[in-house]
């Protein structure tokens, strides 16, 4: 199978957020700023990459009937590794993302890739797939975080370019839904034109 296709499908064509609409909980909850979105995306990418590799490695050794609990244990372990590491080395970001880090375990994107792709493909393909899907997810979260931060706080990645507050609605919860809806519709418009 063409590895480039494996990688790039996660970025645009099968983008987890914009096309498959998976992993909505962290997508809506953590994207109050571009930096938070980026941090959450990269944490998920790491978990996705590692769990895809390990699941693919053990796929012939796990009996079918217990594959879901086994995959979940593998995923949860990597999430805990990420959690401890973030707590130790980026405490500020950890404080900001807080509860959403342990919640990566139940992100259906991660288990979805383990079940649908990694458990049926070799290690190399699974790693590429995990990386592509993760980076696509990161890209989406970063875009959504950027839009919300620029409109809501008048800053980008922490650099303020207006005085005072922006349209606060976009930093609050409803703004996440609005911004996401507009981004998805723009993506649909663009991809339709191409086809």
């Amino acid at each position: 199978m063409n590895q480039w296709k494996n990688f790039s499908k996660g970025l645009i064509v099968e983008n987890a957020v914009f096309v498959q609409v998976l992993g909505m909980c962290p997508t809506l909850g953590t994207t109050t700023s571009a930096y938070n979105g980026l941090g959450m995306g990269l944490a998920t990418t790491f978990v996705l990459l590692m769990s895809n590799i390990v699941v693919s490695m053990v796929r012939n050794f796990i009996p079918d009937k217990v594959r879901i609990p086994a995959f979940i244990v593998i995923i949860a372990s990597f999430v805990t590794v990420v959690q401890l590491t973030m707590q130790a080395y980026v405490p500020a970001l950890y404080k900001e993302l807080g509860l959403f880090i342990p919640l990566i375990v139940v992100n259906c994107l991660v288990l979805g890739r383990a079940e649908a792709f990694a458990s049926k493909n070799n290690v190399w393909a699974a790693a590429i797939d995990g990386l592509g899907m993760g980076l696509g997810f990161t890209l989406a979260l970063f875009m959504l975080g950027s839009v919300r931060e620029i409109l809501g706080a008048g800053s980008w990645l922490g650099f303020k370019f207006i005085k005072g507050d922006g349209m606060l609605l976009f930093v609050l919860a409803p703004g996440a839904f609005l911004a996401l809806a507009y981004l998805i519709s723009i993506m649909n418009k663009v991809s339709k034109k191409k086809a």
């Binding site: 796990i62 217990v66 244990v73 130790a88 405490p91």
Partner: protein, 194 residues
């Protein structure tokens, strides 16, 4: 290699092995990150202490004492310079915030005057209640140099001396509540007697 059959023994072995290996890895990572996590936590606490207290040269964390009030705990950090008490920082809280718990670090001078207040933790609405952070508005600065003996710690709407944050009276009340709790439980003789 053919896929393993879903027999009881195979399932048992597979799950046992997966959980064993996972727990071993987690134990190792936990040991590895234990120290940096503790260090990061202490770093944050020290930064808050240095921020709210006048210059000191002892270790307030070592002399810390606790007091349980209202279902939670207050932490007192006495600061000394050449063994003379120069201030006490109090880690205080209020459950009355608009988004739940608010935690502050309040620095008091030996005569009970508020030196400076830092917000440690809050869940207030962005753009409204979060103006309690010193980086977002001057709200918390109005307490600096005021003595609660003469400065009434409640918002003007409630007959106090504090200018509330516009449109965030609940957050402002909670802030005052936390400072008031710290002041009420502050025993300045205790820090000095040690």
């Amino acid at each position: 290699m053919a896929k393993k059959e879903s027999t009881f023994l195979n399932m048992f072995l597979a799950l046992t092995l997966v959980t064993l290996v996972s727990s071993a890895i987690l134990g190792y990572v936990y040991e590895l990150t234990k120290e940096p996590i503790a260090k990061a936590k202490a770093e944050r606490q020290n930064a808050a202490l240095r921020n709210v207290l006048p210059e000191y040269n002892n270790d307030p964390v070592k002399e810390m004492y606790k007091k349980a009030v209202d279902g939670d705990t207050l932490y007192f950090f006495p600061a000394r310079k050449d063994s003379a008490l120069v201030g006490i920082a109090v880690e205080t809280f209020s459950p009355k915030g608009f988004g739940g718990m608010i935690r502050l670090m309040v620095g008091f001078l030996p005569d009970g005057t508020i030196n400076k207040i830092a917000v440690l933790e809050h869940n207030e609405t962005p753009g409204l209640g979060d103006k309690m952070e010193a980086s977002k508005s001057d709200f918390s600065l109005q307490f600096d140099g005021k003595n609660p003996k003469t400065f009434k710690l409640s918002v003007k709407k409630d007959g106090g001396d504090v200018d509330a944050i516009t449109a965030s009276t609940i957050s402002s009340r909670a802030f005052c509540d936390a400072v008031e709790r710290a002041y009420k439980n502050l025993d300045l003789t205790k820090g000095g007697a040690q």
